[in-house]
Homo-oligomer: 428 residues x 4
């Protein structure tokens, strides 16, 4: 599958390219669901992990709500109840079905969801080809948000399938045909230095960005060093073997409370079977590869490891300064591993993009001068700027054309079901 | 569909009749699922309501565990994990999957469940035809329990589909082709008298009974009267209109706590839409028929209504004494209404069997001299003899050949998702 | 302290005797609080255990509400908010302060509570001496309820002090001067037989009884045997050593769930210190005496022990038939042990009264023909006739003149903070 | 009462001045408890609000643990269990009593707590006079922490008395003799401008500071304006009247969830009685003065108000830059109002110190280069640097010599029981 989407920066007004991009994103969502049975589409095993069919419908609702109902004259919604069922959290649009009950719905069934998608696709094509030039810029702008939105849900679709499958003692396998790289050794860790001073961070322009990446602004940094690669399973195991999960002084107070409340003693998805560590992956249960980056660890665990190691996590500004001149490449979803792989050898920073979302030390807060997008779309990012932490760099299930140096992902510090790892930092 | 099962009392040793009975029960379970999509089989919207595919598998596990693995030499279980997944609560058999996580399992899928059923059916046939005479009596006894067990789950399948569908704002309809009887009026209520004195209750022999119906024993009753028919929707509405749900003196203390905690203001499945009461049924949303028996009311609500009406609920002994000479007939599952209907006119007791399970005033406790069945099957009934209340008479979704005057059903006093109604009693 | 109250049966109309009884009961409540500091009066460590000062105030509110405000012309209540604060659960009287927040109130302070008591006492004396003969029978009847009510709270005062003190790691001692009987051995257990047949149970008249002991009525019993004494700590320890708390087949389903949810592994108040069992008592921590009756076990534990022992619990009718001709004597509160003691040797039934409340197999339900007392006092007993189990015989903290053979106490089957033990029964 | 403590910056080594400071702080804690009855010392109505006697003991435990046991040869602890009972959260010191059970303890009683205090005071005096010069610097440093620590608890003592008293329907009054200022009008709000650029924030040296105020470091700010005074009750009421609590778009997502979960419809401690707003204060229930600063609002409410007003909250850096040249004066605890008062007229910023802790837009995170204090004292601040928000400036119950421009207070964004208000900011 190729994604013409990346070419769009140069082609603002070529509607056919936009249509290709639209169809490319839409088809990819469906391709991700190929391995699923109708039953697999339905389940939700915790409030955070939505059913696959909900994701497929919600992203369609997004186009329907913010584009078709706004801009396509005479458009009739596919089903009058879908606004209620598939609005995620947009309070300004209207009431919505409770998040934790998404797995209660056997209807609409999978086939009807695909009919809904086809209905939306058909009318989106109609809109994109027929829209008057006067409203095209607005349409194009929202279309871009819609495509990025669907890409985010492609990633969530995979995290949620993994989580929902993991609740099954049969440990179902999402895809048994994933490539694996055998027994590489971990490259030794070195430190890359960066100078302090006044820097600018935030989106520079020239392509899409979410409102939370703006405005670009000055920030003062002290000199720092970044680890050349993320922490590996082997390194993390040393922390565990040293009593990491039983030593409160390594932990934030809320982190320690989480350890006790949630009975953590290893990263999520790890299983100790007859003295051997295994890991549940999208390719099923695999023996833990000590050389791969550790993932499915919470912010609290990343902080505790760093305290144990005598280091710290990078701030999001440090991460961005370090990443901005690196090529936008790595083990992203398009590589098809769907699993972090062993870092390559090399002088500079490895695995900044892809493999694992990297925890930062930064609370998710508005940049100076931040203004949320007007209207209901303003709820996309801004209202979550409290109690969450920033992660950077994308993971092995992030679409390759969806990531950039200024991209800010955010989760609560106790959450572990995303593909989250971390890299250490220190002061110079 | 006809059920040869009723003829079996006379035919203890005719294996082909038993096989017919077995296949009849098994096919009926599957027939009940005909209206379901694969997605419908999966969902569980509260811990009490199991997914349809769980029911289909669990009843098969029951035959596999208590018959095939015990008596069929060389039998290999269909899947080594199914014992864990489909054991409901038999602690002596082994560990089991948590009840509230039954809806977390998309796998095994519906097709695999049906293959499991076919596997069990094939081997059950082999067992029934080939078993040595010496073990036939044991097999026959357990087979009978297994058939009754599956019939119970046929009823639960329907109560759970109803509950699980009700959690969907689309209010899916299980069967749109159910017959309905239009606008009859309620026959007036009269009281039927019964003398006091020493009576015997409990199963008399001559056919199957659960261990909890035994031993037959003497009990002393004071003279009493029973209402000729159950309380209707219209009568219950009068209680509601008189402030029933807002007046604590009608309620048991725990009942009043339930009213406040669960925000009850009407029977379950009632909906007030633009000033008109509707009722969610297996045939979808219907306008409330005031002449039909009220159902989906808890024991607490039945007690409160009785207190309001200046009457009481019958004890289970009173109910049984009153019912034992009545013909075993009524609006049971085989009538295909799947909904209580308006009582017929007539002198005596109406609707004792079928329509609605009738709440009694009796706590579910062991009869004098009760001994649970030996082994794990002893967990079927005995361990639940605390905190629950007895209901009698079957409902419109109970298989016709599954009910009898000594039959004791039991639920917690706050539960409402079963097809429960009630009839009043009073002292003479 | 002597209690003239027992003489009252013969002296219905001698008001000075009633006044003596009133003052005797009132003074005893206060005497029970002598060992308490002001801080001790305040705490509530779980919803079930009210603060001592709440008990002292609530029983006064009872006299104020049901006697002074009803019958004493011109009576002004002590404080307008006390009706709200000290009504326990009488919905018909008015709103009341949430039970679980009783320990939130530092005001009214202890001194004010004693002023409240003095105020009520003064006006009660005025009422008892001045009331017109025409209303004396009503007053006398309610006075009797009020005195019995205060006696019940004397017992609860002690159970709650014990529970509240136990939450303190310092293990405070309520009274260090309690007598103890050293090292007796347990008399061997024998079985006492009783014939079956029609019996009458319930209060016979001739003295006070609660409404729940009425009406006296016929019940049919099968022949049975009762153990000559309650189960001892030593016997219970054998059950524990045999894996009692880890073997689900001994347990009711709800009991087993309680074991796991509440992490039970011994009776309440037992502590294993360096391999030795200790027991928290009203006299502080004591080494466990294996010969004393086991107590602070729930109904579930009593049932599990009985199942393990191959016996059963007696029904309340059996217990009453066995007890009714025994002298009303035993280790009751007036013996001042405040702790069960070793049973005496002897032929017949030992320790039927006093020592420990005895669990029965009977759910707490209305007797045939039961009518609750009219008005708000009807809430005293009747509304609790669901989900609870009957206990019989009083304990070592029950006032001696408060118990009788027909007395029905009741608690939820998981509760353990009362002085509850049990005796076994079996069918003949 | 005068506090010689402020003079200490100049007098590092004058032990008698340190002793005076010590005794001054200790006596003030006790003076704050003068209005309490023994019962008042005991209660805890929610996990956040500790009993008064716990505060008095905990601060003594702090001196005992970090000074007496470390530096006073031969010191014997007052009670071997107090380490368990009065350690708040120092994991490295040892296990501690659960926070939510502090109100379960009637013993040690109030008198024993005062004996504990006297014991600690006596030995602290001994230590301060006798300690060798070689260890004096360490002692002096920890003494200073201990004194600041006790001052923090003086403030918490008042917030917790207020909260605990509020749970009582009698609405007890802590002090009826507090001064009040009648009916002033609010000075009109104006905006004070500050230039952007590189600034330094954090403690400058020259006096005590907590580790979390360090290191002093550079930060880049954009030009901004601060409101001349905090938001008043009247202004906040306009937000409420405009539907503030019912309009999700003003709220952070977690804030809106809190509004619904906690049923907020006004600031904490407000009561609408017959159409008039009252406010519960340390001086009892008072009519709401519309001109006083609003307080007992959470971070979420401050954010929602700011969104409604089209402004924002200041960052902690902005606040500090604005405050650092202002005199350290205001309505602090020593003014004895114990309640925010109406702002004075004037050109510049009013009420930056005292009256209400001011919410900022800043998450509580470590400053660049932050190192927690070594050892268990490092748990004082650092481990809480997640999920909390910074507040600045002290309140009307903060000791006057306890506040400074670099002082960072921190609470969770839903908490309201502290004396928290806010001032608006905007970009230039």
């Amino acid at each position: 599958m190729t994604f013409p989407y990346a070419a769009l920066a140069l082609a603002d007004n070529q509607r056919s390219l936009w249509m290709d991009a639209y169809l490319g994103v839409r088809r990819r969502s469906e391709a991700l669901c190929t391995p699923l049975s109708p039953e697999d589409y339905v389940i939700q095993t915790c409030p955070e992990a939505s059913p696959a069919k909900w994701h497929l419908a919600h992203v369609s609702w997004f186009f329907e709500t913010f584009l078709l109902k706004e801009y396509l004259a005479g458009y009739t919604e596919f089903h009058s109840a879908f606004g209620y069922l598939f609005n995620s959290y947009y309070e300004q649009i209207g009431k919505f079905h409770p998040r934790h009950e998404r797995g209660f719905l056997s209807r609409p069934g999978v086939e009807e969801i695909y009919r809904y998608r086809a209905h939306v696709d058909e009318h989106m094509q109609q809109l994109l080809y027929s829209a008057d030039e006067s409203i095209w810029p607005s349409i194009r702008q929202r279309l871009e948000v819609g495509l990025n939105h669907e890409q985010q849900h492609q990633e969530l679709l995979l995290t949620d399938i993994k989580l929902n499958f993991h609740a099954n003692p049969l440990r179902p396998c999402y895809r048994s045909d994933l490539p694996q790289i055998a027994g590489a050794s971990t490259p030794s860790l070195h430190w890359v230095e960066f100078p302090g001073g006044l820097h600018e961070i935030g989106h520079e322009g020239g392509g899409f960005a979410y409102d939370n990446e703006l405005p670009r602004h000055r920030t003062y940094l002290y000199p720092f060093r970044l680890a050349s690669r993320p922490v590996t399973n082997g390194e993390y195991l040393a922390f565990m073997d040293d009593g990491g999960y039983g030593t409160p002084r390594f932990w934030l107070a809320d982190g320690w409370a989480a350890v006790k409340r949630l009975h953590w003693s290893s990263p999520m998805y790890w299983e100790l079977i007859d003295g051997v560590w295994w890991q549940f992956t999208l390719g099923g249960l695999r023996k833990l590869n000590l050389n791969e980056p550790v993932y499915h660890v919470s912010h609290y665990e990343a902080e505790a490891y760093a305290a144990w190691a005598g280091k710290r996590l990078p701030t999001e500004a440090e991460w961005e300064i370090a990443a901005r001149h690196l090529p936008l490449a790595g083990n992203l979803a398009d590589s098809s591993y769907l699993q972090p792989i062993v870092a390559a050898d090399g002088d500079g920073l490895q695995q900044m993009y892809g493999d694992v979302w990297e925890h930062t030390a930064s609370a998710y807060q508005p940049y100076p001068g931040f203004r949320p997008t007007a209207g209901a779309l303003g709820e996309y990012n801004g209202k979550f700027m409290c109690n969450q932490m920033v992660l950077r760099g994308g993971s092995c299930i992030t679409p390759a054309d969806h990531i950039r140096s200024s991209y800010r992902n955010f989760f609560y510090p106790h959450e572990r079901w995303q593909f989250q790892g971390f890299r250490l930092a220190e002061d110079t």
